[in-house]
Amino acid sequence: MSLKENSTEKPIGVVGMGSFGTAIANILATKNKVIAYARRAEVVEEINEKHSVDGVKIHLDIVGTQDPELLCKSCETIFFMVPSAAFQEVIRAFAPYLYPYHIVIHGTKGLCLNLPQGKSLGDLEKISRKNILTMSEVILKETVVIRVGCLAGPNLARELYLGQPAATVVASRFNEVILEGQRLLRNDKFQVYGNSDIVGVELSGVLKNIIAIAAGALAGLGLGENAKGLLISRGMVELVYLGNALGGSLKSFIGLAGIGDLVTTCNSTLSRNYTVGYRLARGEKLQDILNTMEEVAEGINTVRLMKAFVEGTGMRAPITENLYKVLFEDLKIEEALQYLMKYPFSVDVDFL
């Protein structure tokens, strides 16, 4: 695992070689050397010896490592592509080796609870904005890195891997981070847009998962495209309201990372969130679904968090609230749907 320092340009770091991480590492490797971090030794071994991840071929210029220090020392720009459940832990493992000159871009769509020590969500009935951290806020809290960015948008890993045309958003408060992201990722098949509202872009990716579960449920009930259109549009309104309350701007929600991702996820039968909704509507119990899924669907955690947040602020978010009842309080999906159909939405669009 020796790293050749023959090129003047520093290699790019990728932390987490799940499907999305691998897809991004492949795109990065067409332009730069890439050092990839994986937690498990066998994954690192496979990368270095067979140039593949889970049997899928990857670019030859990707080198694997298990050593956070080595990665941080060799790279100035690092992409964190780990699931949100592990995000805080991984960031903490890297924190001792990160310095203010590092640029960190993450591609994780999830939220993190930030509660007083020793408390859990059950202890506090209501939570406020400061109890919720987006992933960039986790980075700012745990490390000394300040030049932080995020990747979001309709980026299904499989399609990226196949080299189909797609686009993404790099969001950061720092122009230099956006430019760096564009320089590293952009190619003929991959368009990269910039956005300075990082929190808005992160929230878009997070909140759309709620709607994805609902979309799966509609499909599971055997409902058609009219219902889906209704859901996406009302879901958008709810996303905008929740997102605004959490500090994102409207512009980001109606952009690629918002509407773009929402439409893709609500139509993708591959999405884990969609699958949860679908199977629920088919009559399965949440616990049984979770037991048979390899990874946790991000949206479930998001629904739980957002429900507590909505109660803490006194807002109304009918889709989220009803989905919560379906997931955790055994409300029948049909009843939830009935409730939503009766809910007095007065105006079509009132956020513009």
């Binding site: 924190a95 001792p96 310095y99 203010p100 000159y101 000394v144 300040i146 408060r173 720092f174 230099e176």
Partner: protein, 566 residues
């Protein structure tokens, strides 16, 4: 009771006045002003993208606004030759646009020359006139005069006027990281950022700096204050440079920022009131004016670029809060705050500090009656808001030593990136606000005002703030029992916050609850004609001026204590 108060004389860290950065600066004033003017010119050219049409437009706008200002809003301090100067600028501009025979580079040269004249004039106008003998005299006057007044009031008997039993430090208590600031001031450059509630603050801070044995700091003082003879003298003596808020044109703002940045790079300690003006609401500043703050970030990067990477080139940000029971200007400040409709607009600075007589009257009142002030000095930070150790090295949250220069590095080199620095300034501003809340000292007066106002608000839940404030005062009465029990509850919360290091608490808050309440009632806004809070005959709590109560109450906003009233 006074366990945490610091009361002793500090030796000056630089005994020789010739070593004081501010003296060095005033000795080379001429070259310095020239340097500032030159650098400002460059940055105006940069902002206008070296585009001659844009530059022309900026110059014309500047001329227009300046002429308007001279006509509509003249001040006593304005120099006599102003009209003449702008008239000549005008004729040059007119002449230039009329001349068709000049080529582009000639024209550009001519415009840049006009800009040069303007920035030179502004730099000269802004530059401070520090005169050491005046500084010494002022310092002696303040200390001597104040302690005479103080002793006359507190020590009984004919000889009181000559007694030295009480010194100014009994009245104004200094707490916090005094040793650190002294230590760092001898190593690098300090930028002190205090909260701002009263016009008295500048003099107070000047005195504090001298008590701590620090060489004088320079600071930007509103030009309006120079209208008053006695203030002008004080300000000059304390090293103030002039900030004219009437001038909002690009060349002026650039010159002002450049002046500050160059002075910091020169190694002169500076003082910014980062809230811009006095806090009109009585709240601790939440949004800071980032203009001057950005000059600290810029100066730090410039020092790194020059290769000064050791502590000598390091800039330390030191937050300071000033805590009063009583703010003289409170009635007019809160009125302005409430009438401001969110838009920026001109307000006349004709408040209680408008004449020397009123100031003297206030000072006599202040020193003869027992209203204490405490000043807390916060921990020093680098320009990114990281705490620093005794050697001035930055520490991250986990106590690891980091290089501040790393923040300005891109591809291994220190680079200039205006947008990046703007974000850093923003970040620094947020950190300063956080620190303000941590070092803010809760006084009994803030405490009782807070509880009383929140109780009144709770009683009238459905009203918005403005209708609430219009309630007739005579209709409001809080039963003492309810008041006391709420005070006990809130005090508990405040003490918990203190234990978590989120706020500080004055020693008089350690007494029993009745004593605290009485102390608070006695002190809250004690010299106002209408008292914000008093006890009536039946022992209940009433107010004579709800807006004033609101003002003093605001000091404790930002700790989420108001949630306890829902």
């Amino acid at each position: 009771m006074a366990e945490t108060y610091i009361k002793h004389k500090y030796d000056p860290i630089l005994p020789q006045k010739d070593e004081w950065p501010v003296v060095k600066l005033s000795k080379s004033r001429k070259e310095f002003v020239k340097k500032v003017a030159e650098a400002s010119k460059k940055s105006v050219l940069q902002v206008t993208n070296n585009n001659i049409d844009l530059l022309k437009e900026e110059l014309e706008t500047t001329l227009y606004r300046e002429k308007l200002r001279i006509k509509q809003n003249p001040w006593a301090v304005d120099p006599d030759d102003e009209q003449e100067f702008w008239r000549s600028v005008r004729s040059k501009l007119v002449q230039l646009s009329a001349e068709g025979n000049k080529n582009k580079s000639q024209k550009k040269k001519a415009y840049v020359e006009i800009l040069d004249e303007i920035t030179m004039r502004y730099a000269e106008e802004i530059a401070s006139n520090f005169i050491h003998s005046h500084y010494k005299l002022t310092r002696r006057m303040v200390t001597y005069g104040f302690s005479r007044l103080l002793n006359a009031a507190r020590v009984k008997g004919i000889k009181s006027i000559f007694s030295n039993q009480y010194t100014l430090q009994d009245k104004i208590q200094i707490v916090g990281e005094t040793d650190q600031i002294r230590n760092l001031a001898s190593k690098g450059t300090i930028v002190m950022v205090p909260t701002h509630f009263s016009n008295l603050d500048s003099i107070l801070i000047g005195w504090i700096i001298s008590v701590l044995g620090l060489p004088p700091f320079i600071y930007g003082a509103g030009l309006n204050l120079f209208n008053i003879g006695i203030f002008a003298y004080f300000m000059n003596a304390l090293g103030a440079y002039k900030v004219d808020r009437r001038k909002k044109n690009l060349p002026y703002l650039e010159t002002l920022k450049t002046y500050s940045s160059e002075a910091i790079q020169f190694g002169v300690h500076s003082l910014f009131f980062p809230g811009g003006t006095r806090s009109r609401s009585g709240m601790i500043e939440k949004k800071l004016k980032l203009g001057l703050l950005s000059t600290a970030v810029e100066a730090q990067r410039a020092n790194f670029q020059k290769g000064v990477k050791d502590v000598a080139g390091k800039i330390f940000i030191v937050p300071v809060t000033i805590n009063y029971h009583f703010v003289l200007e409170a009635p007019s400040l809160i009125k302005e705050h409430l009438s401001m409709t969110g838009q920026e607009r001109y307000y006349k600075e004709s408040d209680e500090f408008s004449t020397s007589y009123k100031i003297s009257k206030f000072l006599v009142k202040f020193f003869t009656k027992g209203s204490d002030i405490s000043v807390s000095i916060g921990k020093a930070m680098d320009v990114l808001g990281n705490y620093v150790d005794q050697d001035g090295q930055s520490l991250d949250k986990h106590g690891r030593i980091i290089n501040t220069s790393d923040y300005f590095i891109s591809n291994g080199e220190i680079t200039i990136d205006a947008q990046r620095e703007e974000e850093y300034t923003h970040h620094l501003g947020k950190r300063i606000v956080e620190e303000f809340h941590k070092i803010n000292r809760v006084f009994s007066s803030h405490f009782v005002a807070f509880v009383a106002f929140q109780l009144i608000k709770k009683e009238n839940k459905k009203m918005d703030l403005y209708s609430l404030l219009r309630l007739p005062e005579e209709d409001i009465e809080i039963p003492y029992g309810e008041f006391k029990s709420t005070c006990e509850m809130i005090l508990q919360c405040i003490l918990e916050l203190e234990a978590e290091g989120k706020v500080q608490v004055a020693p008089h808050m350690r007494n029993d609850i009745n004593a605290i309440i009485n102390h608070g009632l006695e002190n809250v806004g004690m010299y106002h004609a209408k008292r914000p809070l008093v006890k009536n005959e039946s022992g209940n709590i009433v107010t004579q001026d709800l807006s004033l109560l609101y003002f003093y109450h605001n000091r404790l906003l930002g700790y989420e204590l108001e949630r306890k009233f829902n």
